[in-house]
């Protein structure tokens, strides 16, 4: 690390003080359960857009996927296009407006509660809450690890202590200030991220002689692709991988479709649509949401790929060689060696902001899923009062689970946690959620069947067929003596391509075979308020 630790320490301290000030403001403004769970349903469109984007984009998106672009090239730009078109435009304008309206009609305060009340089913609410409680800590654990690794290298803090410090700092303002604190600190962190990534894009292109010149230099490097990567489909950094190759399947099914579509059914993101007062606010939020995602994901992937040109010009090596074969080190290596010292400090703060903004949203979503949806509504059948303290206890419990997971899980498993969680949400929630807000004929039985089939088909595919997880988990090997029970291309196909269509099909067939909900209830759900 070339920058001075005291200067960085002071910058981090100043940043933390501003974050705590915003957290304290959230605490002061939280008067009742609606404030704590939904920020009072009157959030500013800009705050919605930036907090949604900052919660969506974590350290792993910038470092992990940026490093992926450094290793495999610009094909991942299709994910950016998906994130803007599906993750912002379709999510806000088409899903968001109906979600907000139905949430207000049914007085729902969480994503599982919205679905549960739409289908008049405590089971759906409790099971969805349980699913989030069990699997979101995996995703939060991986973000915690990303943030702690940054603190370890940048501030010389012991890694194990860094995990604890990061969790306690974020927990402090999430538990006290609720969603108001989460969204306002997220928006602040989003602004920091936006500026940091904007500077990074300009500095990179200017260092490499301009846009076309930089791309042309990268195109000319195709002959440098290592043999072992060429063997699995890598054809260069400005070309798509060979069609049908293992690299192509990973890029298209797991990354572009898994994350690109999975974002629609993320509980911690969908709940944000219920925090604004009107459909107009959601349309206004599109204005800043689209450019924000471009400046985060788009810049990370473009810069990650172009780092190859910089390293080849200065050291005669490609990025993957400079990083010693570890793709997670490509972006930090590039920032440290190519960028001026003042920017390195700013970029490290950008990364810390990316980790904290995602963590705070995860902590709030899984805490409310555990305290409100699973415990209060699912287990206690709503017999305990609507106190904020039950939710606070839920948040504290799930944070502890995330911290324990961050300590005990091996790096190989945790790095895949983001994609696993996105894929699982797409299969378990997306068919049920889409049906809930778009199809009046969808029945409780159809929704329940779709939730169960999506969940278990996804978990079965992960455990026994999709090679990356099945091999790492070792359950298939222990039971059947083989890494995966199918062979060939099937082991490369992401669960989202199998479990999600299956869950959609089940939702439609079972709904058409069962009695629809009463006309009065459907009118209550869909009325314009």
């Amino acid at each position: 690390m070339g920058v001075s630790t005291p200067l960085l320490g002071i910058s981090v301290l100043a940043y933390m003080m501003v974050v705590f000030y915003f957290g304290w403001l959230g605490y002061k403004q939280t008067k009742d359960n609606d404030d704590y769970m939904l920020a009072g349903r009157k959030v500013n469109p800009f705050v919605l857009a930036f907090s949604y984007g900052a919660a969506f984009i974590s350290t792993s998106a910038i470092i992990g996927f940026g490093g992926y672009a450094g290793a495999f090239g610009l094909g991942i730009l299709w994910l950016v296009a998906m994130n803007i078109i599906v993750g912002i435009f379709i999510a806000f304008v088409i899903f968001g407006s109906r979600t907000r309206r139905m949430g207000a009609n049914l007085k729902a305060v969480t994503f599982p509660e919205l679905i549960g009340k739409r289908f008049q089913s405590r089971f759906i609410q409790g099971f969805s809450g349980a699913l989030i409680t069990v699997f979101m800590p995996l995703y939060a654990g991986s973000v915690l690890i990303g943030g702690a690794r940054f603190m370890e290298t940048a501030l010389n803090i012991d890694y194990n202590i860094a995990i604890l410090i990061l969790a306690i700092i974020v927990a402090a303002y999430v538990i006290t200030g609720g969603l108001i604190a989460v969204m306002y600190t997220d928006a602040l962190q989003g602004v920091l991220m936006f500026v940091g990534m904007g500077i990074l894009l300009v500095l990179t292109y200017s260092k490499l002689g301009g846009v076309t010149e930089a791309h042309q230099a990268l195109t000319n490097m195709a002959y440098l692709v290592p043999d072992n990567l060429a063997a699995v489909g890598h054809t260069g950094w400005t070309t798509m991988p060979a069609f049908g190759s293992p690299t192509w399947w990973t890029l298209v099914s797991t990354i572009i479709l898994g994350v690109g579509i999975g974002v629609l059914a993320q509980p911690q993101l969908a709940v944000r649509f219920m925090t604004v007062e009107s459909t107009r606010s959601l349309k206004r939020a599109v204005l800043s949401g689209g450019p924000f995602i471009f400046m985060m994901a788009g810049v990370a992937y473009i810069v990650g790929a172009l780092s190859n040109v910089y390293f080849f010009n200065t050291q005669g090596m490609i990025s993957l060689e400079v990083a010693g074969g570890n793709i997670d080190k490509i972006m930090p290596e590039y920032i440290n060696s190519a960028m001026p010292d003042y920017f390195v400090i700013f970029f490290l703060l950008t990364l810390l902001a990316a980790a904290m903004s995602t963590l705070s949203s995860q902590f709030h979503a899984m805490g409310t899923a555990f305290g409100h949806d699973l415990y209060r509504e699912g287990i206690m059948k709503g017999k305990i009062g609507k106190t904020i303290n039950v939710t606070r206890a839920g948040i504290a419990t799930t944070i502890m689970i995330s911290v324990v997971l961050a300590y005990i899980l091996p790096p190989g498993i945790i790095a895949r946690a983001t994609a696993i969680f996105f894929g699982l949400c797409a299969a378990a929630f997306l068919p049920m959620y889409s049906g809930a807000i778009f199809w009046k004929r969808m029945t409780r039985q159809g929704a329940t069947a779709s939730l169960l089939v999506g969940t278990f088909a996804s978990l079965f595919w992960l455990t026994f067929i999709h090679a990356k997880e099945a091999t790492a988990l070792g359950i298939s090997q222990a039971l059947f003596g083989v890494d995966t029970i199918l062979t060939g291309t099937w082991t490369l196909v992401d669960p989202i391509l199998v479990a999600t269509p299956l869950a959609f099909l089940v939702a439609i067939v079972v709904s058409l075979m069962t009695e629809p909900a009463s006309k009065e209830h459907i009118e209550q759900c869909f009325k314009k308020n």
């Binding site: 090239g73 610009l74 094909g75 730009l77 299709w78 950016v80 296009a81 803007i84 078109i85 912002i88 435009f89 304008v93 846009v211 076309t212 010149e213 930089a214 791309h215 042309q216 230099a217 990268l218 195109t219 400005t238 070309t239 798509m240 459909t279 107009r280 349309k283 206004r284 939020a285 599109v286 204005l287 800043s288 949401g289 689209g290 450019p291 995602i293 471009f294 788009g298």
Partner: protein, 33 residues
């Protein structure tokens, strides 16, 4: 185009810019709905 020969990549590159700008235009056009 733009130093990128594979149309699958430069279409993605341009689409990122166009969709981000499209979001801005949509937001402005519907600001006073």
């Amino acid at each position: 185009m733009l130093g990128i020969t594979d149309p699958q990549i430069w279409v993605a590159y341009v689409l990122c810019f166009v969709s981000a700008i499209g979001c801005v235009i949509y937001g402005i056009l519907h600001w006073n709905d």
